[in-house]
């Protein structure tokens, strides 16, 4: 894949992450949700509601976008390191992306 196209996808996924990751992080702000401590927002009493609401779809999109952005960033670094191994980096990128996307999808669908 052309290096420039890799970078364009970084920008597109970054824009999506601002909104999706922004909301995901806001879920850890206890006073927004009637809790006293950050750690309380990590327990099932709060977390499982995420999987039963509209946000379950948001979590899926967040997982895909964050995985793509993160792994694509690493791919860009690897391209700089060994440009001739481009196909190997592409294959590694898609392999890890697919494995973790399946894992994330299974989690969200099972808990929905």
């Amino acid at each position: 894949m052309a290096a420039s196209r890799i970078q364009v996808w970084q920008y597109i996924t970054a824009i999506l992450l601002i909104f999706f990751l922004g909301y995901h992080l806001a879920e850890r702000l206890p006073w927004l949700w009637g809790y006293h401590h950050y750690h309380e927002t990590l327990y099932s009493q709060f977390v499982q509601h995420q999987y039963h609401s509209w946000w379950a779809g948001g979590l899926l999109i967040l997982a895909y976008v964050a995985l793509f952005h993160g792994l694509n960033g690493v791919r860009g670094i690897l391209y700089e390191w060994r440009p001739r191994w481009g196909r190997a980096w592409d294959a590694l990128f898609w392999l890890i992306f697919i494995i973790f996307a399946i894992l994330g999808t299974y989690t969200v669908v099972k808990l929905w």
Binding site: Y11, A14, Y38
Partner: protein
């Protein structure tokens, strides 16, 4: 090159030279280099966390919510909190600097107007608002990281 003065090098290809040289090469008036390195380092920290996060958050799907709550109780220790603090700092810097990069590199904003290279040449981008945004990132980052620390360590 005079001894003791700033050292400049070609930006040669190769992971260490191209990616980490900004830390090794002193360039005057160039905080963008520091931001570049920090962006990469924090990005690597975040992707490693993300992969672990996806595995760990799969726990309730595989083993039920009781196992999840038990895991969260186990995770409520100082070492885990230090880890979360590092990730929070990484996300804050990467996110804020990322917005600056989006504005400049993707949308072409805050770069200043091109001008003839009259010596002593100072690129217009160094005087454009992207530099102010960068200083804002460097100023806000420790403040927000401190607030995140208060949350993570249970002070607030």
């Amino acid at each position: 090159m005079s001894s003791g003065g700033p050292r400049t090098k070609r930006n040669m290809p190769g992971l260490l030279r191209a990616s980490l040289n900004p830390w090794l090469v002193r360039v005057p008036d160039h905080p963008e280099r520091l931001a570049f390195v920090l962006h990469r380092v924090t990005g690597v920290i975040i992707i490693l966390y993300l992969l672990a996060h996806i595995v760990v958050t799969g726990t309730p799907a595989w083993r039920g919510w009781a196992a999840w709550d038990s895991l969260m109780t186990q995770f409520n220790n100082i070492w885990n909190q230090i880890g979360e603090f590092i990730v929070a700092g990484s996300v804050l810097f990467h996110g804020m600097n990322g917005i600056r990069l989006l504005l400049t590199e993707f949308f072409g904003l805050c770069l200043g107007e091109p001008e003839p290279p009259k010596p002593p040449y100072i690129p217009p981008t160094y005087r454009a608002c992207q530099r102010k945004l960068l200083y804002a990132v460097f100023a806000l980052w420790p403040i927000l990281w401190f607030v995140a620390g208060l949350l993570i360590f249970g002070v607030w």
